[in-house]
């Protein structure tokens, strides 16, 4: 009966006997399909958190960057790649939301320019927080503003960090690291 079941599963089953004819062991081979993990749960981020002070912390970090200015996009993307991130760029809030999608979120971090025409960074963040109840990408704002109210508003809409423009490598690195560590602390609490 076992043999029949296994054969239906397209596997193999056999018994091996020792020299005296007694059954020594049973072997079973079954084939399984590897499932695609569509939803990367938050705990994936732990890979990035407890690293010593090196840029390996960012290796493989999936980032989506939304900025309507071509020059800024090019520079910020290169800075992120220098830190080891894998970067996808979009030029509008709409594109950003469709790339995140309602069910799939391969991105760990969303970096948003606050000042985009049609849909600004605040709106994008608000919508991300509304839809993405299971997977919460970390959201970091990019802004030239140093005003307290702007930064407070970022936190209010559910963002995790703010980076001042023009972007410097060190500033980007520090904020990314801080945001990731805070996320890790939340997980372990």
């Amino acid at each position: 009966m076992c043999k029949k079941l296994v054969q239906m599963m397209q596997g193999k089953i056999w018994m091996s006997t020792n020299s005296q004819g007694y059954i020594q062991s049973t072997s079973l081979v079954l084939r399984f399909q590897i499932q695609q993990t569509f939803n990367r749960p938050m705990f994936d981020l732990t890979n990035f958190i407890d690293q010593p002070k090196s840029n390996s912390i960012f290796r493989g970090l999936q980032v989506i960057l939304a900025d309507d200015d071509g020059v800024n996009r090019m520079v910020t993307k290169k800075l992120l790649e220098k830190l080891g991130c894998q970067v996808t760029t979009v030029s509008s809030g709409f594109e950003c939301l469709s790339s995140l999608g309602p069910t799939m979120s391969p991105f760990h971090v969303v970096i948003l320019d606050l000042h985009m025409p049609e849909m600004d960074g605040f709106e994008v963040a608000t919508r991300i927080r509304k839809f993405r109840s299971r997977n919460r990408p970390l959201i970091i704002a990019l802004t030239a503003s140093a005003e307290e109210q702007v930064w407070e508003r970022c936190l209010q809409v559910g963002m995790n960090g703010v980076i001042r423009k023009p972007v410097l490598l060190r500033g980007l690195e520090i904020e990314l690291r801080t945001v990731l560590q805070r996320a890790g602390e939340r997980l372990s609490s």
């Binding site: 800075l79 410097l168 490598l169």
Partner: protein, 152 residues
């Protein structure tokens, strides 16, 4: 044909003067540091894109300020973009004019805006010429078989 070391000295002197005179700032240094073997043309690519975008922005600004009823929000939006892109690549003098330009937009001061437009155009053309000269110097050094000195 000038010797490599002479060209390199010229390059260092020229670059230093650009920083001292405020045409370029640390953001430009950062751009150069981002250039590597995987992307050996990075600086030229970014700066070329900046030139393209800037020329479009300047045209848009001129058009916007020529309207019978000027939409200052629109003008400010263009200036904001110009400020952002110029500061990303380190074109400091252009960025500084943009700051003043935005103030005039807020005040809805047409005269101030028109003056700033002239000024920003002037600064843009200056930095564009200087960067083009810098890139030409780089090409000369490379063609003579030398390497570009790293500025600190």
């Amino acid at each position: 044909m000038a010797a490599v070391s002479q060209l390199q000295r010229q390059f260092i002197e020229y670059t230093t003067s650009l920083y001292n005179e405020g045409y370029l700032d640390d953001q430009f240094t950062q751009l150069q540091k981002l250039q590597d073997e995987s992307n050996p043309e990075f600086v030229v690519e970014v700066v070329s894109l900046f030139f393209e975008d800037s020329e479009k922005l300047l045209n848009n600004l001129a058009t916007a300020l020529q309207q019978k009823i000027v939409d200052y929000k629109q003008v400010d939006s263009h200036v904001h973009q110009f400020k952002g892109s110029s500061s990303s690549i380190g074109a400091q003098r252009v960025t500084n004019v943009c700051v003043h330009f935005r103030n005039y937009c807020e005040e809805k001061n047409l005269d101030g805006c028109l003056r700033c437009l002239q000024q920003v155009k002037h600064e843009y053309i200056l930095v564009r010429n200087k960067l083009e000269a810098l890139f030409r110097l780089e090409q000369q050094i490379l063609q003579a078989g030398g390497s570009i000195p790293m500025m600190e």
